[in-house]
Symmetry: C2
Subunit: 279 residues, 2 copies
């Protein structure tokens, strides 16, 4: 039976591309928000949910981080790293000449600003609610138009792709995490994600916490601070470290950490997307 | 003579509100992008430039962070913390009945989703390129419409505000930094922002670096990692610490840090926005 996979819809977005990259055979369930993606899993309507967690240009999807820290009881089961390839698309056969409008989500328009200025200096950029909606808007437009959207949206709406990878910054990837009831069994090439906070904002707290990992030669892959909702000067720290939480070393480190912090939440252990994402 | 202040335009955006909050008498110079805001200062066309650096809901403006890390030679001279108050506005006298469209930047529409669903379940959300453009679009609309934008945009375009603070999450603030040729003189209530990176990704590197501050009882206000452009597993670390870089303690710490890292860039020291931003 196909796995039921909830994702941030609608169809034709990068989230759907990531879901298909993760499992081309999954039954995809589009949801309007990150909480509803997770609730689909909690309520048993999906087996796993996929949500974006960070983009190399835009940074962390803090809504996902905050939801992991304080809302959901789901675990991170896996990850997917999707290269973001903005495509330029038109109505089939329309060609590139005389394009007067370019539809897309404002973020994508901004990421392709130089491309637009260099190639379509006379076209007017028009905002759409999503990259997927942009293709709809373009197909319905009364003047000759183009849309900037993922390849997948062209397939869905019958548009013709006339340019690929048109974003100004080439190193544009988004990391997604898969959420489920349990995290992943050890594979020998894993990382572990967790968050922690301190009751008192003592100068050496974070240093001492990191010392637990440094003295055990456990590499930290990522560290980030997120303000707690309570007050501006207090933080939750989010860390990814190398190794599975069931390995003796990581297990011992997490136990030691628990004694030093006021709260610790382990989101889960899961395999690296693949080796090319490591170097 | 009024200070010339470049900001991320157009007029009527939160960046303009922040610029006016910082200096109501400044001569404001709108610029289309963060690099052009900075270039206005470098080229002598502005005395200072103001750029957004983090929002409590959306997280860091990584574009600004990356620009500070690797592009600009300007220093952080000051900061401004602006409460984000989304306002609902209409054509003067139009009232709230029968609104069929709500224009805004997709991010603002998302931040007000519950408000819209609860109060205008039949209205269609329409994307605009900026909050400021949304007010224009609303004023020009052929059907009864509203826009979600800052108060300032209503003043500029002659719209009438019929609701204030309509965002679903109340704790929504954006921190802006002022960039200039030099940072700020010590005031006794300062912080210092800097970034550093390591040649080798050794497990204990970050721990040892933070130890320099912990052993001197220097409080770290914020810590964040940003992937370097070179490869996915390597990071620049961005830290805000308490104290001015000219204070003996911080100066000594930064000197010690310089010996442990492959690169260190001090963005500057500047006063906290005000005491209410600290607790």
């Amino acid at each position: 039976m196909a796995k039921r996979l909830s994702y941030l819809g609608p169809a034709g977005t990068y989230s759907e591309e990531a879901a298909l990259l993760y499992d081309p055979h999954a039954e995809l369930i589009p949801c309007p928000t990150i909480p509803t993606v997770c609730r689909a899993v909690s309520d048993g309507n999906a087996d796993e949910g996929i949500v974006p967690i960070e983009n190399s240009i835009e940074g962390s999807v803090v809504y996902t981080l905050d939801y992991l820290i304080s809302e959901t009881e789901l675990s991170i089961f896996n990850e997917v790293v999707l290269p973001i390839q903005h495509c330029l698309m038109v109505r089939p056969g329309a060609g590139v000449e005389g394009i007067r409008r370019i539809y897309s989500h404002p973020q994508s328009l901004a990421q392709c600003r130089h491309f637009i200025e260099d190639n379509f200096p006379l076209a007017e950029p028009i905002a759409s609610l999503s990259n997927s909606a942009a293709v709809n808007d373009m197909m319905d437009s009364e003047v000759l138009s183009a849309a900037i959207a993922p390849q997948r949206a062209a397939e869905l709406y019958g548009a013709e792709v006339i340019g690929r990878g048109i974003q100004d910054v080439t190193n544009n990837v988004t990391r997604f995490v898969l959420l489920g009831w349990e995290d992943h069994l050890p594979t020998g090439n894993d990382k572990t994600s967790f968050s922690f906070a301190f009751d008192e904002d003592a100068p050496g707290s974070l240093y001492n916490a990191l010392g637990i990992f440094a003295t055990r030669d456990i590499n930290l892959v990522k560290i980030e601070s997120r303000p707690t909702k309570e007050s501006l000067g207090r933080y939750n720290f989010l860390v990814d470290c190398e190794g599975h939480r069931e390995s003796p070393l990581v297990r011992e480190a997490l136990r030691a950490l628990e004694l030093q912090v006021s709260s610790l939440k382990v989101f889960g252990s899961y395999p690296w997307w693949n080796d090319s994402s490591r170097s």
